[in-house]
Amino acid sequence: MKPFTFSRPADIKSAQQLYKKNEASQFIAGGTNLLDLMKKEITMPANLVDINSLSLKEITTGDAGIFIGSLALNSVVAAHPDIIKNYPLVAKALLAGASAQIRNMATIGGNILQRTRCPYFYDVALPCNKRKPGAGCGALEGFNRTSAIFGASENCVAVHPSDLCIALAALDAKVFVQTDGKESIIPFKDFHRLPGNTPDKDNNLIKGSLVTKIYIPKNNFNIHSHYLKIRDRSSYAFALVSVAAGLHIERGVIRSAVIAAGGVAHKPWRLYETEKFLTGKTASAEIFKKAAVIAIKDARPLEYNKFKTTMLEKGLQLALKNAMA
């Protein structure tokens, strides 16, 4: 591992000042992804700013929604009574991810900033535009079993690995960001990026900015929601395909629906057209089947990930069925 300077500031202002001291600075919170990347010398910060002493752990509930501090641990959020009661999709997605040990370390802010698990990104001997812009994408014509089926470019076919983010995308969360004393709010759908010509950029966060909290508006999906995760083993693996689904049902009729898919794109993939189709319809297996056909309409699979299209089509139906149960 490359050497680095280390500091642990007590407030946001000092943290951002310390960050600016070096071009190659990096904030660290849980470190569960960053340590991996540093050991493999994929990320090589010369200056590490440990933000664990900042007061960003708080979870505040209100009538309009819930604020989750960016340093709140995944395990703490998943066990929070208000999350379980009013935002069960978030708890389900969190518990579908990682292991009990990692959930005790990983933070909410770190979760949304985690990097892809594409094998071409992780193996420094292979070409990857995300790791080294201009190097080429090894996965495009390579072993692309885990790659994207939506929104990819010729420069990058990697997928976002987070489960939590799929639930946050479905629930229209907002990301609160602090940049040089100024606060900005980014809607979740605009937080992560598609790869385009700049796959090295995972999201729209300005360098040196800190995610301070996530806001989830109160919603009507707490009764009928489900997070379905399909993976190579039954626990502790990244999603091949996942579906976060929330339905607001009144007398059997779908008043509104939110659906996002994971493991299929460079960012959490909202299925707006499918949601629109479901709205106003009476919930039934037949309607869900038709909705699933719409969901996969724009899929552009590669050589080895064609199965993901079918997996999403079937998985979406199962997620909706489970949400009704």
């Binding site: 280390f6 340590l35 990692i102 370390m105």
Partner: protein
């Protein structure tokens, strides 16, 4: 505690000493004197640079430690390489196997995925700190009773994780135990014994 005193008098087993000496000797043949010294002082990773050593105060198994560490040192490497608490195992070193599981302030974590300097002020418990003197922890006894291991390499991590799993209350049924123990891999496949041991302690 008797155990830690023993460790100070007899640092490590003879096998470990032999390995260290042979590594140091093979290094002498090709590497300059400064590196030879660092190999002998077990600071293998430090020879290339002049590092800032950071002060670190933390409690391990009830004993306070005032240390100076390289910021790149993981908690796992601090425990094993610096403090010779080799009960905690290095499996994958990437948080995928759980062999390095320890408790920090009572919560289980992967010690390979955190820098030691980030744990300043915390209370660490390793497998060495679980027993009460010569009296094994109930989970250790249960692992023996239920054959919760074969080769034993993953066992310290399994036991630390199992103790936390019971404390968290994630032991309602086999399925829940399996789900909440999925961060600990056992290549010998002693999973049935492990689940049975956890069920017994959770009762």
């Amino acid at each position: 505690m008797i155990k830690s005193e023993e460790q100070e008098i007899l640092p490590g087993s003879s096998r470990r000493d032999f390995l260290k000496k042979s590594i140091a000797l093979s290094a002498i043949a090709v590497i300059p004197a400064a590196i030879e010294t660092s190999a002998k002082t077990r600071s293998d990773e430090k020879f290339a640079y002049q590092f800032e050593q950071l002060p670190l105060r933390l409690e391990i198994n009830g004993k306070m430690h005032n240390l100076k560490v390289d910021p790149r040192l993981t908690l796992l490497d601090l425990l094993r390489e610096e403090l010779h608490l080799t009960g905690t195992k290095k499996g994958c070193d990437h948080g995928q196997c759980g062999a390095c599981t320890v408790h920090v302030n009572g919560n289980r974590i992967n010690s390979c995925l955190t820098f030691a300097v980030m744990q300043s002020g915390n209370k660490i418990t390793t497998i060495e700190g679980l027993a009460n003197g010569e009296e094994l922890h109930p989970m250790q006894k249960a692992f023996i009773k239920h054959d919760g291991f074969q080769c034993g390499y993953c066992t310290p991590g399994q036991i630390m994780s199992a103790v936390a799993c019971v404390n968290e209350g994630h032991t309602q049924n086999d399925e829940q135990i399996q789900e909440f123990m999925s961060g600990n891999l056992c290549r010998c496949g002693a999973y049935n014994g492990i689940v049975n041991a956890i069920k017994e302690v959770a009762k």
